[in-house]
């Protein structure tokens, strides 16, 4: 058999990996050589056996949605970390990294667009509200002041993108964001559900991203601190349960986030989203709390 067609060539022949003329050579040889014909038959039956044996393994389902949610979450954390990495790398010094973080804020990802749109709207409403109040208190002499006030929103609307990068760029990875635009109290390890909820009530209804951003930061900080403790890994069953819960929460976040994105003016939608985020923070806090005494023992 080996003198005829080598087994590797025969395999390549059946896998369609030979060049055209080699293919012809082999097939004409197969018609005339009994030994090779037998080898070919054996190859076919063994290949069938192999693919039948491995088929159940590959037929097992792939958890596409869960994988997508996990990776999206990991990427969100990664994106929050990249500016810090850039400064460490010191590629082109401080200025470059400042521009980088600036550009990162301005890149037109849909979430950001919505976030900024929300922020702009809040500021516009605030300005309008101020104008209206200003007009009602002094009386009918309205014209000159109204012009003066109305001009202010335009620089105001642009200023947040500038002011936000500075804490981001200077703050090292693990520091908890203290300078979120309005929603600022974020616990590191202590679950302060009550305080957080109270904050939720104060939060203006339209803005989606400012609050979301600080949540993401907190989650990233918690997550990285959890991972840094990985020297003592969780029990496998516990770990898988934790990951399942996490995946569930992530899915909830994704769903509520979509809803909030579609209805930017619906305060309930935003509330649901923040509640989902809060659940994740709570879960991470819980795990962090639970693992803290373990380490001290």
């Amino acid at each position: 058999m080996r003198e005829c067609v080598e087994e590797g060539i025969l395999q390549s022949y059946f896998d369609g990996e030979l060049s055209m003329d080699m293919m012809e050579n082999v097939s004409s040889h197969l018609t005339s050589c009994l030994a090779c014909k037998r080898a070919a038959r054996e190859l076919e039956s063994e290949s069938l056996l192999l693919s039948e044996a491995l088929e159940p393994e590959f037929r097992l389902s792939v958890p596409t949605e869960r994988l997508r949610a996990r990776i999206d979450m990991a990427l969100a954390e990664e994106r929050l970390r990249t500016p810090a990495r850039a400064t460490v790398a010191g590629r082109a010094g401080l200025v470059a990294s400042w521009f980088q973080s600036l550009s990162e804020l301005i890149t037109v990802s849909p979430q950001r667009a919505f976030g900024y749109a929300g922020l702009v709207m809040v500021l516009l409403f605030a300005a309008l509200f101020a104008v209206v109040r200003f007009l009602t208190t002094p009386g009918p002499t309205a014209n000159p002041p109204s012009v003066a006030v109305v001009t202010t929103p335009s620089p105001k609307t642009v200023s947040p993108p500038e002011s936000v990068p500075t804490p981001k760029q200077t703050a090292p990875q693990n520091t908890v964001p203290t300078k979120g635009p309005r929603r600022d109290v974020q616990p590191k390890f202590v679950p302060v559900k009550g305080a957080e909820r109270a904050n939720d009530d104060q939060a203006p209804r339209v803005k989606l991203l400012p609050g979301e951003r600080s949540y993401l930061k907190t989650i990233a900080a918690l997550d990285s601190s959890l991972k840094s403790k990985n020297a003592t890994p969780m029990r496998p069953s516990l770990q898988s349960e934790y990951e399942r819960n996490l995946a569930m929460v992530d899915r909830a976040i994704a769903a509520t986030r979509n809803a909030a994105k579609k209805n930017p003016n619906d305060p309930d939608a935003a509330e649901f989203m923040f509640a989902a985020y809060q659940t994740k923070v709570d879960l991470l806090n819980q795990v962090a709390d639970a693992r803290l005494p373990n380490r001290q023992q």
């Binding site: 080598e6 087994e7 590797g8 060539i9 025969l10 395999q11 390549s12 896998d15 990996e17 190859l43 063994e46 290949s47 056996l49 192999l50 693919s51 044996a53 491995l54 159940p56 393994e57 590959f58 097992l60 389902s61 792939v62 958890p63 596409t64 869960r66 994988l67 997508r68 996990r70 990776i71 990991a74 990427l75 990664e78 521009f99 980088q100 600036l102 550009s103 301005i106 890149t107 620089p155 642009v158 993108p161 500038e162 890994p233 496998p236 069953s237 770990q239 898988s240 990951e243 399942r244």
Partner: protein, 188 residues
């Protein structure tokens, strides 16, 4: 001011490059996450760990978007990383079959149907895995990758082999598998 900032961004080619390739990241996930996950699961025999590996592989893709090969060589790149990460995972911690059992029970409905069929299928999978275990590298990986539809070139690229050797490696692996699987109790 935003106009100025925009102009600054426009003058940064690498920024734009990463923005453009982030599109292809989604495509890469859609096209290849199954192969990545399945390869990881076949090596690790643990769906939860395979998820971890898949996440790590795509994070690495995200971090190395500028240096990863495009198009036809992307899948070999991803699977090479998958095999490396999966092997490191095995080295890092002992596999626990119990965990996989719990996991597959909890995620029932996604992959497992009626209980009897469930049990039978599980046996089949276990048999095939045990037979594969008896096959030496790189034949084993050749079989795994080929069974997922990779071309010889992709297999060679993934496992850093010569393309001309893949045919005979597949042939030898296949023969060994048939011998071992028959002994273990695989039914023809």
């Amino acid at each position: 001011m935003s106009g100025q900032a925009r102009a600054l961004i426009d003058s940064m080619p690498d920024q734009i490059a990463t923005e453009a390739s982030s599109l292809s990241f989604d495509e890469a996930f859609t096209l290849h996450h199954r192969a990545v996950f399945r390869t990881a699961r076949a090596v690790l025999r643990d769906a939860a760990l395979a998820e971890d590996v898949t996440q790590e592989v795509f994070l690495r893709l995200y971090r190395n978007q500028d240096s990863t090969p495009g198009d036809e060589l992307l899948r070999p790149w991803l699977l090479r990383v998958t095999l490396n990460v999966a092997r490191n995972t095995i080295r890092g911690q002992n596999r626990s079959m119990a965990r996989d059992t719990v996991y597959s029970q909890e995620t029932s409905g996604e992959g497992w149907q009626a209980p009897e069929e469930d049990y039978e299928r599980r046996l089949e999978i276990e048999e095939a895995r045990r037979a594969l275990d008896k096959i030496k590298e790189p034949m084993r990986s050749c079989l795994l990758l080929k069974q997922q539809g990779l071309s010889y070139r992709e297999i060679a690229e993934t496992l850093s082999l010569k393309e001309t050797n893949v045919g005979s490696l597949v042939a030898r692996g296949r023969k060994q598998f048939a011998r071992v699987y028959g002994k273990i109790g695989g039914v023809r």
